[in-house]
């Protein structure tokens, strides 16, 4: 009942949104698939926006198209409706640098993929013939996998039929009082069929081959426009291109997963940050490498209509630190070295709400299941108000910028003391004024 009321209330709140359908307007946009330091993320630059933001020294993919654009108030962002209208344009993209040199860029076929994953970033871009070759390779191994899967399903089905038949025979012979030992042995010895492993060649498989203007530029400000095949300039295609780069790299940040809210992790990216917690649950940390970018430029690289502060720099997460260890101090006697381990979230049974995080046991309770998270567990309690931690690399050397403190806050022993301290200047004032008045009266 309560749930229904909540849903109705939510829907009613959305009424104004549904009542006024977002206005869709035709726009000449740039679709941008930009590399953001850790992966490729899509965004678009609508007509009203004058600047495109890209990171320097990496391949970024741009296309020009006509589509419908509308503002979505629920998330406060602009969106495209390419299902209704999507007209890509050919031509030559002209990129002009500060010195006035114009470089023409033509459409190229491309694909991109990652072979090693979040612990070892290894993004690659293949163009034209190479793209075809990569795609063909991926298609080939996927076909092989599909075929192996088909064969596996057939064998599983065959084995299943055989098992059923055996069981029926054992039952009927047992009912007939005959010896079924051999048949039972045969049933027990039936091997569990192993499913074929999915292809391990790619962590992020190659994307379907597309066509785009591929831009890989040094830092600076450029202007660009689209020249149509007939030689004319596409109206509305003039944009400024801000190519930026990281100021510093190889910083260390931590993804902080609280034990009681494991689906809502937070990030601690500022190197001088202190983690203040209430100590009500343990923490699970995942250290990552981070690079420092301009707040505004980076935000607009990810999403062109986002906001940011051009005067500030921000550390952005790039990749997980591979094979790291964490040295803890203050969590017990001496320094403790902890390793990254897999964990499993065990839901409460039956009507019990909640969960607990337990060590992942692939051979035991979690057989056939994947770990819920892989992280460093930091045990906390009110008895350890300050815990120091430092990440070490695979060689055991401290990673620069990875030192952090975790401080467990507790209510102070006597809350009145601090307000009383704040009154000390007042006491001093009274003493001074009274003392002076006394001296004056004595005269």
């Amino acid at each position: 009942m309560k749930r229904a009321a909540a849903v109705i209330t939510f829907l009613l709140a959305l009424l104004p949104v549904f009542g006024q359908a977002p206005v869709r307007t035709e726009n000449l946009i740039y679709s941008v698939l930009a590399f953001n330091g850790r992966d490729y993320s899509p965004t678009f630059v609508r007509a009203a926006s004058g600047t495109i933001y890209l990171i320097a020294g990496v391949d970024n993919f741009l296309t020009v198209r006509k589509t419908l654009v509308y503002f979505w108030p629920l998330t406060g962002e602009w969106k495209t409706d390419t299902d209704s209208l999507n007209v890509p344009f050919d031509g030559t993209l002209e990129v002009t640098g500060r010195r006035g040199t114009t470089v023409p860029v033509i459409l190229s076929r491309y694909t991109y993929f990652n072979e090693r994953g979040e612990y070892e970033l290894n993004w690659k871009v293949a163009r034209d013939a190479e793209a075809d070759r990569v795609w063909a390779h991926w298609a080939q191994i996927m076909d092989a996998y599909q075929a192996a899967m088909k064969d596996y399903r057939e064998r599983v089905a065959k084995q299943g039929a055989e098992r059923s038949s055996l069981i029926a025979r054992i039952q009927s012979l047992r009912n007939a009082g005959k010896d079924v030992t051999a048949l039972v042995d045969r049933l027990s010895n039936m091997l569990e069929l192993e499913a074929p492993q999915p292809p391990q060649d790619y962590v992020v498989p190659p994307a379907e081959i597309q066509q785009a203007f591929i831009l890989n530029l040094p830092r600076g400000e450029y202007s660009l426009r689209l020249r149509n095949p007939d030689g004319s300039i596409m109206e509305g295609s003039e944009k400024t291109l801000a190519v930026h780069e990281k100021r510093r790299s190889r910083g260390i940040g931590f993804e902080v997963i609280p034990g009681d809210k494991w689906t809502r992790p937070v990030e601690s990216s500022t190197p001088s940050a202190v983690l203040y917690v209430d100590g009500s649950s343990d923490l699970y940390l995942r250290p990552y490498f981070e690079d420092e970018y301009n707040d505004l430029f980076y935000a607009k690289t990810i999403r062109n209509d986002d906001r940011g502060n051009p005067n500030l720099m921000k550390w952005e997460r790039i990749q997980q630190v591979p094979r790291a260890e964490i040295q803890l101090t203050g969590a017990g006697p001496g320094a403790t070295l902890i390793r990254e381990e897999p964990w499993f979230v065990e839901q409460g049974q039956g009507a019990t709400l909640g969960y607990k995080i337990v060590p992942y046991d692939p051979q035991g309770a979690q057989k056939g299941k994947d770990p819920s998270l892989i992280a460093f567990r930091i045990p906390l309690g009110r008895g350890s108000p300050v815990v120091g931690l430092q990440a070490l690399d695979s060689a055991g050397k401290p990673l620069s910028g990875s030192a952090r403190q975790i401080r467990v806050l507790a209510p102070p022993p006597a809350e009145i003391v601090l307000p009383l301290l704040a009154l000390v200047p007042l006491a001093a004032m009274v003493l001074v004024i009274v003392g002076r008045a006394r001296r004056h009266r004595r005269s």
Partner: protein, 317 residues
């Protein structure tokens, strides 16, 4: 001590001080007089280095004075026209003096402050705050501050303005006492009767120009070429005045009740001639007295008649 040469001060197109020469000698009490707006204050401020002259020079103790010569300023004590009541009203009289004692780096300051407070009869009020002191006490406090560092010259701007007769007397006594101790004193004041009593020399300024600078006697002698001698008789017989007039040294003779008013030249002593004449007329004078010209009369004469030639003919200081 203090010398000003051709001092000029202009504020835009208005000339407040127009080529003044002053000379205050060691050990004298020098009066500086002038009507409102004559340029007295502007002159004083230039002497002290508070404002810069448009042209001209100031010499203190024989040395050319500029505002950066704080060492020369140490030798002057200043009592401004009004003690700034709004300044440090929270300070006690003693704290006020201690502050200036520290500023002037006076040795054994507490001894000096105590003795001076006793001298000016303020010792009992030393812990009173400035805002609680009366006008007279403030003036005495100002005076004490000015002599705290034992200056060679005291510069007083309207020192008795606003004081009651007792206060005036006390300040006058202080001035005379300090002068007796060897200090030169420069006084700017409107109280002409007081100035007459204590000043050795006076200067009169009008419309930015120095009209006269001399002793009282010389000033009167230059301004007034005649003297009046009042002869009191029991009764003035008819025709006596006309007969008196015929005497060669007598310029004029009038009668006022039982008094003959005989006008004679400034130079010379005519009392004997007059006495002999009266005896010859069988008249016995009850009293023969010369009427003294006051500083006020001299002041009014100079400022209203603008006798500029007196400056060049008198030779002043």
């Amino acid at each position: 001590m203090i010398q000003a040469r051709a001092l000029v001060k202009r504020y835009g197109t208005f000339t407040a001080v127009d080529g003044i020469d002053l000379h205050i000698r060691p050990g004298e009490i020098y009066g500086f007089l002038g009507p409102n707006g004559a340029g007295k204050t502007s002159t004083i401020l230039m002497l002290l280095g508070i404002t810069r002259p448009t042209s001209g020079e100031v010499f203190l103790f024989g040395e050319r004075y500029t505002p950066s010569r704080l060492d020369l300023r140490r030798r002057i004590g200043v009592v401004p026209e009004k003690h700034p009541r709004g300044v440090w009203p929270w300070m006690t009289a003693e704290e006020y003096l201690r502050f200036f004692a520290e500023l002037f780096a006076i040795p054994r300051p507490q001894e000096r402050i105590d003795s001076l407070l006793k001298k000016v009869d303020l010792h009992g009020f030393r812990n009173k705050r400035i805002r609680e002191l009366s006008r007279g006490m403030l003036q005495k406090l100002s005076f004490t501050r000015a002599i705290l560092h034992d200056p060679d010259v005291l510069l007083l701007d309207e020192p008795i303005s606003g004081l009651d007769p007792l206060g005036i007397q006390q300040v006058r006594d202080l001035i005379v006492s300090e002068n007796r101790d060897g200090r030169s004193i420069f006084i700017s004041s409107h109280q002409l009767s007081e100035m007459e009593r204590i000043c050795h020399r006076v200067a009169i300024i009008s419309k930015g120009k120095l009209m006269a600078e001399d002793t009282m006697e010389n000033l009167v002698a230059r301004l007034f070429r005649e003297r009046e001698i009042h002869v009191e008789l029991e009764k003035v017989p008819h025709g006596l005045a006309a007969l008196m007039k015929k005497l060669p040294s007598v310029l004029d003779c009038t009668v006022n009740a039982n008094t003959l008013i005989v006008t004679v030249p400034r130079q010379g002593d005519f009392r004997r001639v007059i006495s002999e004449f009266l005896i010859g007329q069988s008249q016995v004078p009850l009293r023969i007295q010369e009427r003294m010209v006051s500083l006020e009369e001299a002041f009014v004469t100079i400022t209203q008649e603008n006798i500029g030639s007196l400056v060049s003919s008198g030779g002043g200081g």
